[in-house]
């Protein structure tokens, strides 16, 4: 059981190649972190895995527990078990958080089957309590007028409610103060499970103080250039990305 990325290449619509052969395997039960400088392709990788249509996959495959999801639409991938926590979550005016998450859960049910409202709210409130989110967030429009920290917490709330097999967190730590970071980490750690793999994309080692990864990868120029244990993150923090001595990074 794993999320497997084999030789993934992707370009922008204008032909510029961003991913230049990414190889990565995230087995269920493990947390992997990808670090790397701006423009290295980290966020693009997360979007390509999720199926974003602004990128054209030109070679390679993404396998979810052995099943190739490369031809699936964005929503099919989500229902198959991929979750992307956005770096900049969108606002959805006029759609309450509770209704939004409910619609996402409803989309996973067979036609004609309805969500049990009582059980739904019970589960929602439990998770909101864990993330220290006020109950008023259920009635507020998705992310509208939310602070940066509230938006990130809301991403984790959705992730907890949808209970995906593989979670990709794109710079979830950016814009968070230390208290918010701790709460977000608490949510992510609560999701740790032998059945679930996670990929954290981050600039900073700080997040990894609170969510301990099993493996750390460094991405540069559209490829994974170095992999190692948690100590690699500390090394990067200390020496900066230059220590990789990739001329292209200079």
């Amino acid at each position: 059981m794993s999320l497997q990325i084999n030789n993934l290449h992707a370009t922008l619509e204008n032909g510029t190649e961003i991913l230049k052969g990414v190889n990565l395997e995230i087995p269920a039960g493990e947390i992997h972190a990808i670090m790397g400088p701006n423009g290295s392709g980290k966020s693009t990788l997360s979007k390509v895995i999720a199926g974003h249509e602004s990128y054209v996959p030109t070679a390679g495959h993404v396998l979810l527990d052995g099943i190739d999801i490369s031809e699936m639409s964005i929503d099919e991938r989500s229902r198959a078990g991929i979750f992307l926590a956005f770096q900049y979550p969108n606002e959805v005016p006029g759609v309450s958080n509770a209704n939004f998450i409910r619609a996402a859960l409803q989309a996973r049910l067979p036609k004609g089957e309805e969500i049990d409202a009582v059980a739904y709210y019970k589960s929602l409130y439990e998770k909101m309590d864990l993330l220290e989110m006020d109950r008023k967030f259920t009635g507020r429009a998705v992310n509208e007028g939310f602070s940066g920290g509230e938006k990130k917490r809301n991403e984790i709330l959705q992730m907890m409610m949808l209970s995906p097999k593989y979670c990709i967190l794109d710079e979830t730590d950016s814009g968070l103060d230390i208290d918010a970071l701790k709460i977000v980490a608490k949510g992510v750690n609560a999701m740790r499970s032998p059945e679930r793999g996670m990929l954290l994309i981050t600039h900073y080692q700080r997040l990894l103080d609170y969510i301990k990864p099993d493996h750390v990868h460094v991405m540069a120029e559209g490829r994974i250039v170095k992999s190692g244990g948690p100590e690699l993150a500390l090394e990067l923090e200390e020496k900066g990305y230059d220590f990789l001595k990739e001329p292209a990074l200079a």
Binding site: S78, P93, G94, V95, A103, A107, A141, L162
Partner: protein, 418 residues
Amino acid sequence: MSSTTTLPTWLQARQQAAQQRYESTPTPKRGDEAWRFANIKQLNFENLTGIPAPADPADLISRSVGIENPVAKFVFLNDELIHSKISLADAIICLPLVEAFEKHSDLVEQHFMKQETRLGSAKYAALHEASVRNGVFVHVPENQIIDGTIEVHHWISGGVTIFPHTLIVTGKSSKVRVVDIFHSADTETSGLAIAFNDLCAGQNSRLDYIAIQALNEVSRIISINETSTARDARAKGFVLNTGAAWARNESLSRLEGPGAHSDMLSVSIPAREQEYDQRTFQHHVSEGAYSDLLYKNTLYGHSKTVFSGLIFVDEKAHHTDAYQTCRNLLMTDDCEANSMPGLEINADQVKCSHGSTSAQISDEEIFYLQARGIDPVRARQLIARGFSVEVVERLEDEAVESLVLSYIDEKFNGIAKD
């Protein structure tokens, strides 16, 4: 007017004069400023058969579904009252207009169609005045607070024209909410409604008026609203358009005293070949008053909307706060939204803004919902519904919001099946 009722003399005289005015007023034509971008052909009513279709009143009454436990409910079929149920304090007048003409002639005369119709449909306002047969008269005396909602259903059956009239007068520090719902008895017959609502909000009163237009898609409606808002009064007018082949809404709000507050709200969801044409006028007569207009259109298919709005601040209306926003959400490449916001300020120290936007749902918005497992069709529907909900929430009454949303959802469900 019903033959058993004797009309008050003043009304007879006004109806005669109105008939003459109707006949002498030219039909709007292309190039008239008030009908810019309008489909003038819709003013040709020759295809109406004029023949009412037999309809089962019991059936229509059972189909007149609204909120739970309204404080009063009326059902009209081709302007004839077929059902009423009223549970209001004796001091409050809430009657079919025909009865009010008889019992409260002076009171009705004081308020009935007092403002000049100036947004283009003067001819049709005259026809309405000459032809009005029924509707509802609500008069809430000083300090009377009605917490519930008065609900009025208007059914058109057959190729006829109805002239429903809603006259609401609130006394000092009183409160009322009225909902008008326009329906067609069948889906195939072209009918016409020339409707008028007169809202007179007295000092420090609160008057909410909601119109739900859900006629069949071969019918037409001209709906004229005139609101006057006295010192410290708050009037809220809301229009929902989901039905009709063509709807023309004219809404004029006059702010007549300091502290007066007028909310002008609308949600329109045209699809297929539907056309909605809306003209508004925020008239600041008094100093220190506030008006806020928010109109939202979600356009599908080959539909078309026109919005033309003017904020007009009189010379002495200093310290005016006036806002006007029209937003269009374009769901197809073939729809057409025309917006003409306008502002004329003749006073000092005013805060005014006006603007209109037209946009499509962005790929990034859809991506976010899809990334949560929601298919793109449903994602677009959720976003479009949310766009309307932002206006509906300003009604600030859960029961009425649910009612309005039920019509919005019915419309979206119909579009999804297309």
